[in-house]
């Protein structure tokens, strides 16, 4: 069976060299990214949730808190899959602001002898707190000016406690 496949590949290389080169380039690029572990590619897209998870006292999620109420802001009152955006945006803000030069891929870039030493991404990111209510308004929600992001802990549909975001 292997010989049959090898012969088929040889025939493609002979009859359609450009397509063969294109296919090789795509597979090679994805393969390199996978081996170098620098970025998730189609070969690693669904590998999320591969690691074992263990019981915790609370399961945390970064959410806005209005008027120091101690209660999480409900981001699930939105149309379609907007709630995913409202889960992703604060979480990524928290990850990026704590990363070296606000690029969480820097440790992986270093392995390849590269480095993102930009000096402006972190400055720009400081505007996130002001921008988030603007985005909320675009998707039909409103939040008071006196809000902040907190790490809210839940378990079995119950609110447990909240913590401030980790410092940089």
């Amino acid at each position: 069976m292997l010989r049959k496949h090898i012969n088929a590949l040889k025939a493609i290389r002979k009859n359609h060299p450009l397509f063969f080169f294109f296919a090789l380039m795509v597979i090679g690029l994805y393969g390199f990214q996978l081996l170098a572990k620098i970025e998730i590619t189609p070969m690693g897209y669904f590998s999320l949730y591969s690691d074992a998870a263990y019981p915790q006292e609370a399961y945390f999620q970064v959410l806005p808190e209005e008027n120091k109420s101690g209660k999480p802001y409900n981001i699930y009152r939105t149309p379609g899959t907007t709630f995913l955006m409202l889960e992703i945006l604060p979480t990524r803000y928290d990850i990026l602001r704590r990363a070296e030069h606000c690029n969480p891929m820097n440790p992986k870039l270093k392995r390849l002898g590269l480095y993102d030493g930009n000096t402006c991404d972190c400055d720009k990111l400081e505007a996130f707190h002001d921008w988030f209510p603007v985005y909320l308004q675009r998707v039909g929600l409103h939040i008071s000016e006196d809000y902040d992001f907190k790490n809210f802990g839940f378990k079995n549909a119950a609110y447990i406690r909240h913590e401030p975001l980790q410092s940089k």
Binding site: F19, S50, L63, N156
Partner: protein, 279 residues
Amino acid sequence: MNLYSLNDKIRRRFADAVFWKQCVLSVIALALIYFWYSGMMLHHVYDSPFQYKGSDITYWMFHWLRIPHLVLYNGLTAMVFDILLILSFISSIAFIDKRGFTIVSGIFILVYQVLFNYKIGYPTHHLFGFHFALLPFYFKKDLFQLSVRFAGILSCLAYAFAGFSKLYHKGWMVYHSFSDILQSQHAAYFYFHPEALRTKFCLWMIEHPGMGFTFFLSAMILQLSFIAGLFTRRYNKLLALFIVLFHLMDWWLMNLGVFMGMTVMAWLFLYKEKVVGAS
């Protein structure tokens, strides 16, 4: 109409590249309209403070070429791009025989993907299935079947590697792991929607880790079964069904309905090269 002629008609349809092209382009156009409704277009995020580049050369190229500054110059330019993106797919359906329109749509959706990720600070991956599904329509007729096979192989690699990753990282060896994944995935959702059907079902699964374990193991085996698709087309119908099942499960259990558009890749496994027994 007897069963034989119905079967024959389905076979003819499944061998019709134009039929599949219409299906794929329509699904993507509808998905884009849904993304608009969900606040996921460029004009929703054009002014976000993120400018994520990560370690992917594509993002850096876009950044160096100042493409984000051009497309996301202001809300209007971003909205014009979003409209053109959707219109490009509608035009591709209207001019189904013109390959150029489909290539332009493909370029538009790639630009959209990179800029969207750039502005939300995260390399989302709910669009790669669209690229795979569109790939065969970029090529001339003599390369069409070969490119269908190649796109099918890429899809198989995506799922098979995911299964392999689960196997390698040993999450499946921890009995209650999936229960904790569900708790983490829906932490706030459960709190805000305690009466929702999804909440009740997931909480029941959390209370019965054996069910969660079985589900997780089944998903891993389902993903690993795509290895077969790399070597033979014998199980293609089954793999098409697996794609749909996997994303239905992803939507129901993980609340990731945004990935449902990926089911469009199933066409790569349903396309028949020849109509056997057609009269």
